[in-house]
Amino acid sequence: MDVEYPTLVELCDKFTKETGIEVVLLKVPFKDLRNKYYVATPAGLGPDLLLGALDWIGILQTTGLIAPIPSSFSYDDFTDVAQKAATYENEKYMVPLCMETLALFRNTDIMPKRPETMEELIANAMEIQKKYVKPGTKERVNGFYFEIKDLYFSIPFLTQYGGYLLGEKDGQYDPMDVGLGNAGAIRGAEFLRALRDDKQYGLIKAGCSESISRTLFYDGNAAVIINGPWMLRELKNRNNDPNKHHVKYSVDPFPPDKEGNLPRPSVGMQGLMLNSYSRNPEAAAKLIEYLAGTEQMLALSKSSGRPPTTHSALALITDDPDIVAFSKACDNGFPMPSHPACQAIWEPMKMSLELIANGVVEASVEMPSATERIKDKIRLMME
């Protein structure tokens, strides 16, 4: 969340002027943030408020490191997805400030027309990969490229036909109900294999990675990639830099297929969590109220490129087509489960998806067996 840092500083300064409460912002590199919080908080040296991601709630609550948001805070203005995401075991643990999800980034020079269905997207991509030549060069471009084996990028296709990460029981996530082995997930996995298989679509070769997909897009060598709002800042910077290649792009939510099945990406949220060891809970609560106000959310949203989470803020964002596109994509998505069992799913699924994509195993065999293994692992972890 480092692009929003200057905005956060501004907002906190305004808060200090209004209320006289001093706010110290500590900026930590994202990959270290979680571990530092785990270590510092039980020692009493943690921050009062943690600005972190949605899927941390489960672990932090299980390990006793965050406290529920005080009931005096009203969630009425927040969207349904945001409210659901912030809830864990029937208590609210996070005040979401912005949400993010995956969508399609399309190079409008190479693919000018927005595809209405997934079939159209694939057909266009195959045609582009076979015939399109970059103007002024003899190079071909990639029609459709993303990191297949990363579950985060592939999950829209698994949920398209009925797969899901964690099922629910009594309003709470059921760690034993992993929906990646059902018929819908298998069908989605077969689609992923088709993307790699030269005999079917053959669009994406081995060794694909997210960083390569971004590089291809920035240099105008890819028509469509899958990525999230965090890419917008770099893209806009490059488009403003006269020395770099400019890309005319459009952000589109995933289109449904011909039968109307909609790929549903997972929606993450970034928000404020309250440290259970905090020594200034009332001041922290005041800061939460302030930052969740409409004006402040709009400011954060503009600087981060991510849609805000309250209805009133969303109603005011109509001028930035990228944010509008992402907020529509978030509507179509499902909130990332915050249960700690979810953490056990990513890595094993990554290996299974790679095996399926390479054609080493059949999707109909591997997905159910991988799901069983994951459930065993979750059970082992909970012992």
Binding site: Y38, T62, D198, A206, G207, P340, M381
Partner: protein, 317 residues
């Protein structure tokens, strides 16, 4: 004078001992303790002592198949790396040792380069070079037609190989690529040691041998190698122990390599990378510590053998 002499050595050793104790000994003891608990994501603040359960899981539980496969590959990996890097090292050292070779300093500098570049950076470069679709290795091979040559060669054995060659994602290819990069990283060290050892071989032995009519090759086999053996033996064993735990090369190249169905460890995972994945990707800290203890016992045995054979710790009388 005599009164202080017994304490003085301890005073000199104290800073190093304290640092080692706090930074090395304590964390290791803690991880030994953790191996006997069920510390994991779910049992983060309330883990409990479970005795030998983690070890049982490795020896006779569902983990065993994975453990045996990873263990054998680690042995092949360490052995292969040492064998090939020493072979190349000796070969190049004999070539460079020739007093008639002009510009041997330049050659020596060039050959030492893989060792001079930080391993982290060079391995990441190799990861880019070996990428299936965009890597330079495959691009150059395609342009020169080498890849079709390799495919037809393999076709003779009935092996169908689709191009471009999946250096980091294909089952056998990933093993080759990873071994190749490690040998590239390791041979300069072997080269340096061999060069040093060769200096100690007196040249009149070679002269006597030529007078007796021995060919260059025979001289190498009969004179050079046995004399080098004493110098190279400790290097061989310590290299083996080092490569046994060579985390950087494997993790940065393939992150454990093409996955294997039904297992958490990839095809090119060695014990140390698998243990890392267990701890940080799968959050099974207790099991990872149990693996770490296994690795420690194996490497400690190797080091013990090394010390015994070289007499490194024998008291000098």
């Amino acid at each position: 004078m005599k009164k202080h002499s017994w304490a003085l050595p301890y005073c000199y050793l104290a800073p190093a001992l304290v640092l080692l104790g706090v930074l090395c000994l304590l964390p290791n003891l803690y991880s030994v303790y953790l191996a006997f608990t069920n510390y994991s994501l779910y049992h983060y603040s309330n883990y409990e002592f479970v005795g030998l359960r983690n070890f049982w899981r490795i020896i006779s539980g569902p983990e065993t198949a994975t453990f045996m496969r990873v263990f054998w590959w680690t042995l092949i990996w360490a052995g292969g790396s040492v064998l090939f890097s020493q072979a190349i090292g000796i070969f190049l050292a004999v070539l460079l040792n020739n007093p008639n070779l002009k510009g041997s300093n330049i050659y020596r500098t060039l050959f030492i380069l893989p060792w001079a570049i930080p391993a982290f950076i060079s391995v990441m470069m190799w990861q880019g070079l070996l990428n299936t679709e965009f890597g330079a290795v495959n691009t150059i091979m395609a342009r020169l037609g080498i890849d079709t040559a390799i495919a037809s060669f393999l076709g003779l054995f009935g092996i169908e190989q689709t191009l471009p060659i999946p250096w980091l994602d294909g089952f056998g290819w990933a093993h080759l690529a990873v071994l190749g990069v490690n040998v590239w990283l390791a041979y300069p060290f072997q080269l340096t040691v061999c060069l040093g050892a060769l200096q100690s071989v007196p040249s009149d032995v070679y002269e006597a041998a030529s007078v007796d009519g021995a060919s260059k090759l025979k001289q190498f086999w009969v004179i050079t190698l046995p004399l080098l053996r004493n110098a190279l033996m400790p290097v061989l064993i310590s290299s083996f122990a080092f490569n046994f735990n060579q985390f950087t090369a494997i993790y940065l190249l393939t992150a454990g390599g093409p996955p294997i169905s039904g297992s958490d460890a990839g095809a090119t995972d060695i014990l140390i990378t698998y243990s890392y994945k267990l701890a940080f990707n799968l959050f099974q800290y207790g099991l990872a510590c149990a693996y770490a203890i296994f690795i420690f016992m194996l490497v400690a045995t190797l080091s013990g053998v090394n010390f015994k054979m070289t007499g490194a710790f024998d008291e000098v009388d």
